[in-house]
């Protein structure tokens, strides 16, 4: 290839000149300084560019360089040809003295084809195209800039909208479009409806112990929408939105809390581990999956969940420590909902926040307003880019509030006050996104009611369908313990069947 630094430097200088206000000359010294290119070298490049009439100099005070043509009339090919002084992208070898001329002439025609294709491509891209291009990783509002501005060591928290749905951090707005926002809003409403229905079914004795998601919908909904097909989800147990968006069904949720292992496997979804009951024990699995993705050179990120209480567990430490050392593509998400059953965060750690723990594992950490859908979506999409670009893992502390009980067997009135609950009610994630959408004239509050009615009917229809599921079979107890059931285990089943027969006969 004949591309040298000359082409690259010429492009950088021309992008700067072309991006300046119309007809305002740009000083060579300023370009040299901004681009960290030596002024002498730039001068050498500017001579051919001037000769080729790509730029011209403007003399006098306020002078400098301006484009000599419109930016859409200058192609990369023009620039390359001007500064490299060749029309050949590949330097052809002299094959005339070689033995088998036939073979070499074939190779030469391959080079020629590549050359002409490259030339066509280069002629198709203008300087104006390049100037208009979206920066691949935007430095002004990307992960790096978020991390710089919201260092958890300073206890900063990242948000985009306030409690009234007003944009307070415009510069980071824009990771999703209006349709996606509406979709997310509707889905959060759906999840909340399903959650409330599950509580109802539990009280009716149609489901067993159930941990509600109430108030935390923005975190797992944004995760669900940010995840790509190849990504892995490693759940804790309060991320129902993400499970469904990953490909699980509402029926899986009923099966799970209805007391059937079938609900653990999310049969229609790929790359999702089962809900994990032993606190934080799932995090090393995420690290292991991340290792496997790297080892097998596969695409994808891992999204792993834990609660605030889980950060006190040894496995939290071990998982993040291994992840840092192995540089795995894992986004660790702490849903800090303020309580581990009844124990507040202040009883879990003396650290000023949870994101700060990332420092010890050599990975970045960030506190995010977990009730701000826009902030969560922005951060998680940036985090996904970050980890899949070989930067290693990241720790996100999503600050939220569990509006409901820990599970249906818990009584929050024993450990928190009405005053606290009403303060947090103002920060409800669905309310906040609704106010934002209403302000943007994308939604009307009165639409909610009809939508919720529809969801209720839908959830109930599926619950009735779920209740028709086949009964738990004796084989289900034994069949999945091992690849081949050991003889002894088979015998235990056979003995039980004999008992069943006896019971049948003696009835």
């Amino acid at each position: 290839m004949n591309f040298t630094k000359r082409t690259e430097y010429a492009l950088r200088a021309l992008i700067e000149i072309g991006s300046s206000e119309k007809d305002v000359p740009v000083k060579r010294e300023n370009i040299a300084k901004n681009q960290e290119i030596s002024s002498q070298f730039l001068e050498q490049i500017f001579i051919p560019l001037t000769k080729s009439k790509i730029i011209k100099s403007v003399r006098g005070p306020g002078g400098g360089f301006v484009l000599n043509k419109l930016s859409d009339e200058i192609t990369i090919w023009d620039i390359f040809f001007s500064v490299e002084k060749t029309t050949k992208l590949y330097e052809s070898n002299d094959y005339s003295n070689k033995g088998d001329l036939q073979i070499f002439s074939k190779i030469q025609s391959v080079w020629d084809t590549i050359d002409s294709n490259l030339k066509n491509t280069m002629e198709g891209i203008s300087l104006s195209d390049i100037i208009m291009m979206e920066a691949k990783s935007s430095n002004s509002n990307g992960m790096k800039s978020i991390l710089d501005k919201y260092n958890p060591l300073n206890n900063k928290i990242f948000n985009i909208i306030d409690d009234d749905g007003k944009v307070v951090n415009k510069e980071f707005l824009g990771s999703i479009n209006d349709d996606e926002m509406l979709k997310a809003y509707r889905f959060m409403l759906y999840v909340r409806t399903a959650d409330e229905m599950c509580m109802l079914y539990q009280r009716q004795g149609r489901l067993y112990t159930f941990p509600p998601n109430l108030g935390q919908e923005a975190i797992s909904t944004s995760t669900g929408y940010v995840m790509k097909d190849d990504d892995w989800l490693v759940p804790s147990y309060r991320e129902v939105a993400a499970w469904i968006l990953k490909g699980g069904s509402i029926k899986d949720i009923f099966l799970l809390w209805g007391g059937n292992e079938e609900g653990y496997l999310f049969s229609g979804a790929k790359n999702i581990l089962p809900v994990s009951v032993p606190i934080a024990s799932q995090l090393p699995h995420a690290t292991g999956i991340g290792f496997a993705l790297n080892y097998l050179k596969k695409e994808g990120a891992v999204f792993a969940f834990v609660g605030d209480g889980g950060t006190s567990e040894g496995d939290f430490h071990e998982a993040l420590n291994f992840a840092g050392v192995w540089k795995v593509p894992v986004v660790f998400i702490i849903q800090n909902n303020q309580y581990a059953i009844s124990v507040p965060v202040s009883r879990q750690t003396a650290a000023k926040n949870l994101a700060i723990k990332s420092v010890a594992y050599g990975m970045p950490g960030l506190r995010v307003d977990g009730n701000d859908y826009l902030a969560m979506h922005k951060v998680l999409s940036e985090a996904r880019d970050f980890v899949t670009n070989g930067n290693g893992p990241i720790l996100i502390e999503a600050v939220t509030y569990r509006k409901g009980a820990h599970t249906t067997s818990d009584d929050p009135s024993l450990y928190r006050t009405d005053e606290e609950e009403s303060t947090w009610a103002l920060k409800d994630p669905i309310k906040r996104l609704r106010l934002y959408l209403v302000k943007k004239k994308l939604w009307k509050t009165e639409n909610d009611k009809k939508l919720i009615e529809g969801y209720k009917k839908e959830v109930d229809a599926q619950f009735i369908e779920y209740e028709k599921s086949p009964e738990y079979n004796l084989n289900d107890v034994f069949d999945h313990m091992y690849d081949d059931i050991p003889e002894d285990l088979k015998k235990q089943k056979v003995e039980y069947e004999k008992y069943l027969n006896w019971e049948q006969v003696t009835k």
């Binding site: 049969s267 090393p284 292991g288 313990m481 002894d488």
Partner: protein
């Protein structure tokens, strides 16, 4: 054929399987550069690369927990616990995930991992380096537990363990790591998990043992032979799933059962074997099925360990007792 000790046989099995299957990775504390504190993984990193054989951070739960994730994503990790006495921080991962993942996902995620660990005592070691806790693993549904006693078995059983789609706890008798040398085939071969082996045929008494105790029992049998006692010796080789059939058939033949092992007696492997004798061969019994396990105490530090670990003489004493019942 090549003459190998157990360390070399395990190393050879790992080497062959690493060559065989690119999805196998080996990691643990000091297993990479150093080749393990017993040098079991010696030379493997050099040969197969640091991506496949490597030192992990020093954290047993992290080692086992990450292996769970690797299995879910398609790898077959063979991990090492430096000593069985250090496995306890990983017990949560072993019990709550390794042993259960297949069942709770109805077979969607299998856990084809091997957790290797040296076990057993009478080696004048530090505290927690002498335990024999195989019964604890045998009590966890979802695991397989394997203990070889010879280089030949060590290789064949490890290959079978690695190829097994279920998690296997592979316990290596460290006292005899280098004590026995044997001709071992150079190529790959499997020994079926769950099958005991009759080492010596006999008619007077069935003696079941495994691991490092096999050698001590064989010494005791020299004394027994001199006293015209004809013992059938069975090497159990797998703690779970246990080979009921071989044991049952032997008891039917001899009418007497003695189990010799190192672990604490109560709720031990001996108790399980006595239950088998009662359930499967009750009418053939001529004496109470008996066990010689370790005391239900902490294994003493080196100055006192001669009280705890069975000498051939002690084993012979128990054989005689049972013969004269």
């Amino acid at each position: 054929m090549k003459v190998m000790n157990i360390v070399q046989a395990v190393n050879d099995a790992l080497d062959l399987k690493l060559t065989d299957d690119k999805n196998i990775v080996i990691y643990g504390e000091d297993v990479g550069v150093e080749g393990g504190v017993f040098r079991v993984t010696s030379g493997l990193q050099e040969k197969h690369g640091i991506e496949r054989v490597f030192d992990s951070p020093l954290a047993e739960s992290g080692i086992v927990g990450t292996a769970v994730g690797m299995c879910a994503a398609g790898l077959r990790p063979v991990i090492e616990m430096q000593f069985s006495g250090f496995v306890y921080p990983a017990m949560n991962q072993i019990i709550t995930h390794v042993a259960r993942m297949r069942n709770r996902t109805r077979g969607k995620y299998k856990m084809p991992m091997v957790i290797r660990m040296p076990y057993g005592g009478n080696i004048k070691a530090l505290e927690l380096h002498s335990e024999s806790m195989e019964a604890m693993f045998g009590h966890i549904p979802g695991l397989k537990v394997v203990i070889p006693s010879t280089p030949y078995d060590a290789k064949g059983l490890l290959i079978a363990s690695i190829e097994d789609d279920d998690p296997v706890i592979y316990m290596e008798p460290k006292k005899i790591y280098r004590a026995i040398k044997q001709e071992v085939p150079k190529e790959k071969y499997n020994i079926e998990i769950g099958k005991a082996r009759i080492l010596e045929e006999g008619t007077d008494l069935t003696l079941v043992t495994y691991g490092a105790m096999v050698r001590e029992v064989q010494r005791a049998l020299v004394m027994a032979k001199k006293n015209n006692i004809n013992v059938e010796l069975i090497d159990l080789r797998t703690i779970y799933p246990i080979d009921k059939e071989t044991i049952m058939n032997s008891i039917k033949k001899t009418g007497k059962l003695l189990i010799v092992n190192e672990g604490p007696t109560s709720y031990g492997v001996g108790a399980e074997l006595i239950a088998i004798a009662n359930e499967e061969a009750f009418l053939h019994l001529e004496a109470p099925p008996s066990r010689l396990g370790g005391f239900d105490t902490i294994p003493p530090l080196p100055k006192g360990e001669h009280f705890y670990f069975h000498s051939p003489n002690r084993i012979f004493y128990e054989i005689q007792k049972l013969i004269n019942y």
